[in-house]
Amino acid sequence: MSSTGMVDERIKKTSRLRTAFIRPELGAIVGVVAVFLFFAIFAGDSGMFNPQGVLNWSTVSAQFVIIAVGACMLMIAGEFDLSVGSMIGFAGMSIAIMSVTMAWPVWLAILLTFAICMSIGALTGTIVVRTGLPSFIVSLAFLFILRGFTIFFPQVIERRTIIGGISERAEGDWLAPLFGGKVGEGFFRWLAEMDIIATYSRGARAGEPMVSGIPMLIVWALVLVIVAHIVLTRTRFGNWIFASGGDAQAARYVGVPVNRVKIQMFMFTAFCATVFATCQVIEFGSAGADRGLLKEFEAIIAVVIGGALLTGGFGSVIGAALGAIIFGVVQQGLFFAGVESSLFRVFLGVILLFAVILNTYIRRIITGER
């Protein structure tokens, strides 16, 4: 009766292939392949896949990736943050007011904004864990509070809701290039000299490569994905994140500091939102009170497409990043394909539905949910 050998007679042999496919990201992987196939067929010759085209949708995707990583970690820890979009607007406005209106150095404005926004994240988290209210409600309150301030302050101080002139202020600043700069410019110049990539033929920048470097935005996105993925899957803290979202009570019983973990994830989400805002403000040279509208939903949708469970305890940062890439590619791809952009929503809705159905199926196989 006791088969103490290593071979278990109650397990069917499963192929390597099947094992490799049964992973939380499967829905997102299928989605990415489908999206690229679709645009390779319908927009293959539109310039979407030349260097400028790739840079275009990569940059947009990277924006989605940055906020999706934060939302993903928080969702796995069992919470939501609906104030991400408002936080983006708020952070941008904070940098603009401090650096332009108050004429403080840009680096100081950036650092102070990070401190303020992460404190707000900590406050949201503390209210959630102390009161036991759903984070959905608490962060919804912050959605209104932050957006309100974002409109109120520039109105009162400058009598307008868009503040420009940040580019001039950021010149020569040591910190601003970390968000608005580019990397690999030498490499792209070399590529242009070798005639591998296109150059401008007219105007002030004639002879310069059309793609002059990789924006820091993309670097931030890559670094955040890699770091978050490693922390989540390979460290003790990562195990605590899964545990806090999987069953907070059970996690507490075995000594996981659940409240601290959740608060730190709210702060990380705020950090990601502020990175997004800072990159945007430095790049555009201005801050507007309506920036970041609806971003929280886009982040959450990307995370869910990526295989995370809405109620927490299960998910993947890589999946969330792929979900964000689907977003970016579809949004820009429809533009390249010359399709009415309202179809963006239709397309997204369809992908969301299919990815989530596939994800639910996969998750049941992995976790034995009944």
Partner: protein, 263 residues
């Protein structure tokens, strides 16, 4: 026998616990010594789980004192109790179905491995120990990566027991650990309790099964409606007396006769 040798490792004095208007514990005193198995018995709702939760740092007592190794102790969280060497199998197991067996086993106490300035979870060690401890309990896992949600109820309970046994350095608390187990696994758990106790660890064992209690218990404390009905040593009490105490007294006699003495 050994109680003259060892002083109690945990001593709970006049513990009261109120949940709002509910008085779950109304002055319970209890102690457990290294190398003994102290059984905590009583009817449903008597307050057994609440009592051991104050011992393991989940609840703070409303009134009363806890002495650990002779010194007064305040456990602010289960983590403090764990660090002191107290491990618990909770009645509802504290297992997370979505996570793998290994991640559950080590939850809160993950082994780490240094790589330069970074500290990563040591999955190789974690997986090996998990598989080995489960094998000792008589369960062959398919894979340590398997989610706890895919295990049977008894297998889940065994993971929780194996985890507590592995981490219970000084005190091991088991709240109805055999309620879902098969015959072989139950025997395994009882013999594990015996082995652990002989190794000098203090065991607190909650059960509704008189035979299991008598098989491993050195002392028996019966709780009834938040109070102790008293503590008896092994040999001082017959199984029938114990059963009557556990059921809260007289009604049981009547019930038993109507069931033809099968209970």
């Amino acid at each position: 026998m050994s109680d003259t040798v060892h002083a109690p490792i945990v001593e709970m004095k006049d513990i009261e616990k109120h949940f709002g208007p509910v008085i779950a514990l109304n002055g319970v005193s209890f102690d457990v010594r290294p190398g003994e198995c102290h059984c905590l018995l009583g009817d449903n709702g008597a307050g057994k789980s609440t009592f051991i939760k104050t011992m393991s740092g989940v609840h703070k007592p409303t009134r009363g004192t806890i002495l650990f190794e002779g010194k007064e102790m305040r456990f602010d969280s289960p983590r403090d109790a764990m660090i002191a060497g107290i491990a618990t199998v909770y009645q509802d197991l504290a297992m997370i179905p979505l996570m793998s067996v290994t991640r559950n086993f080590w939850m809160g106490r993950e082994p780490v491995r240094r790589v330069g300035p970074f500290r990563f979870m040591d999955f190789r060690k974690a997986n090996d120990v998990t598989m080995e401890e489960m094998r000792k309990m008589g369960i062959n896992l398919r894979s340590p990566d398997q989610a706890v949600g895919t295990l049977s109820g008894g297998e889940r309970q065994t993971v929780a027991i194996a985890r507590a046994v592995y981490f219970g350095a000084k005190v091991l608390i088991l709240d109805e650990p055999t309620s879902a187990l098969g015959v072989r696994q139950t025997a395994n758990v009882l013999s594990t309790i015996d082995k652990v106790r002989k190794g000098g660890i203090a065991v607190v064992f909650i059960t509704h099964n008189v035979r299991h209690a008598l098989a491993v218990g050195d002392r028996f404390t019966v709780l009834n409606r938040g109070k102790t009905l008293g503590t008896a040593k092994r040999g001082q009490i017959t199984p029938e007396e114990l059963q009557d105490l556990m059921a809260g007294g007289q009604e049981m006699v009547a019930l038993e006769s109507s069931l033809g003495g099968t209970v």
